[in-house]
Amino acid sequence: MSSIIIDTSASRGVTGLLKFLLESGKIDAALTMRNDPENNTYDFGLITDASNLDEAVPLIPVMTVNAGQVLSSISISRKKIAAVLKPCELRAFVELVKREKGSLENLLTISYTCGGVFPLDTVITGQIKELLPKYRKTILNGEIPVNTRDTCRACEHFIPMNADITVSVIGECEPGVGCVMHLNTERAVEFTEGFGGERSDRKFDPSTLKKTLDARLAEKEKLFASVTKDGPGLDRLLDTFGKCVGCHGCSSVCPICYCLLCDFESANFDYNLPYFEEHLSRKGALRLPPDTIFFHLGRLTHMSFSCVGCGMCSDVCPVDIPVAAMFKKTGEKTAALFDYLPGRDVEESIPVMVYKEEEFPDIG
């Protein structure tokens, strides 16, 4: 495919593109992050009037909610939407499309090479704008900002070539002065027809990001090691999840957890008194409410191979359990058994939905 080079900052470039798409009528609405000027908070705007794009901050390193989750509630529509997504948000959305929880049909996806997001603790200080210059400098140096989410620092899937348009934020052009938008699909070419900027045959060159990739992989090693730093086993699981209060915030904000009523909140996990009495007679003590760890094991079973490591779960955990690191590691290893990578390809079937007559012969 081709690319467009624009002589403005990446952020302004993307906003300009959205403006063009809305004003030309090529899309009905644009989904992007915006900054509420009155309260200095961040949310998503589904914008239909181009003049409202002044509040847009499409590339802001903030994730208050995973855009995949937001998109799934609006994408099954006859209207055309352009959405600016972080790589993990796009991958999460693809996983949701596979589960009939979203549609790519009328969607133009715009993603970018992502340097990671600040945790919510930082977002609520209102200091994001002040932190941006240093953040940009760090990522452009191919280094990893220390004050971003741990899973972001360890993320190797930060180059979203499965989007319709990929914007190079890290590398490729002089920052603040120019940006490159890679048009990866026919749809991208179609939608950008008439949009300004220099057209080029330039293809994305992954070697420009080798330094960043290596740094991320190294961080991932460290992160995965920390998950089982005191050794594996149920005791260590207890250590990590022992202080879980069962708020289920992790599953609420997880883009993949799409069930309206989680099995663990349903009547299936209501216990009759004989259960408690029996436990007491056997063990002398029982935690209430029960199934603290079971919930996490269940969630791992149900969704870990689709985990995209966005880190929302750890961020909302009221007791700072490193849920994301645990789920990312488990998910990656489980998915690998099936040669599966979540979000890579919408045609790739979810492992548990595929029947193979012969599989894992060594497990028997």
Binding site: V65, K243, G249, P318
Partner: protein, 386 residues
Amino acid sequence: MTDAQGKGAVLPVSKDPGDAILEFLRLAVAKELADAVILPMKVPSGDSFAWILMNDVSLFEGAVPIAAAMPVQGAKALRSLTRKGPGNLTVIAVMRPCEIRAAIELEKLGQVHTDNLILATYDCPGAIPLQKYVDDPGGSEEHFSLMRRSGKPDNTAKPVCHYCENFSMFDSDLHFGYFGFSEKEVLVIPGSDKGSELLKGLDLDLAKDLSDWKKGIDSLKAEREEARKSAFEETGEQLRGFSGMQSVFASCIGCHNCQSACPICYCRLCYFDSETAQQDPDALITAAAKRGGVSLPEDRIMFHVGRMTHMSLSCVSCGQCTDACPVSIPVAGVFSYVADRTQRTFEYEAGRNDGDPLPLRQFRKSELPGIHELVKNAESEEPSHE
């Protein structure tokens, strides 16, 4: 605070009030006056607590009856145990007054059955916010120790604790009073027949006069009332008009942690998570087109207003909602303020075990005579907005 009838029994204290309570419970179980107890215990990582139902007396010494933090609202533990019925076990639960009050509200809602529970409360000086405790268990314990001795929440305590007036005896079966006794004695006061029976069974004489202790409680209560007045004044100002709500809840990300942490929110599937509450995408985009855009996720403020409508009359101001919020919204401050007003309007006090039915279930032919005025006044204050 319930009027403690005149006299209580005294428990000797060797280490601290919590220890005295443990000894009391050991005896109760040993004498088969109870089958089991529910108490907080430290979790394996040592930086939080969990509720443990236990009948093995040898495990009691690891328990911390008066815990510095409240990671899980005790009423939730009681709900998981007794939702399906009272069962055959007699269980003594030692919890904060707000936890017992929440359990009483849940009983009215069919979620808790207290027939075989002996609910025991204690003088509560407040609790350390969960996040603070997890970050620094040692420092938090020190602060809590001081709070316990003085009976006053300090600047590390949860904001709602500062103006909680129900920090001492309430409609519980038993109450452990120790404020003002410099950790040398703990009073055990019966609040019901169940409680009296238990004390009789333990051969504890109700010999100690309660008036000194009560005086101390009353003066602490007066301080809390003062704090309540000024806190509510401030909250009232902040919440003025729709823009007030918007600015207080501006950073809300719609995670619904507050609803999960709330002991009263008993619905399996919250209305706002249900299919009905999800907007049809086409309708949403059309609505967006009319206004130039719409903020997503949708209905973040509506969720809070809806939650208030559903549970405000039973809110016991325990503050778990603020503790659970990942973006530090003072949810409990807002909900306490609203709950105070809604409960007053219906002359209903959440957590009372006096047979007063839930206001939303009662039909009265004539009710709220001043409501039209109220609505008119509220409307006149609020400029019309899109």
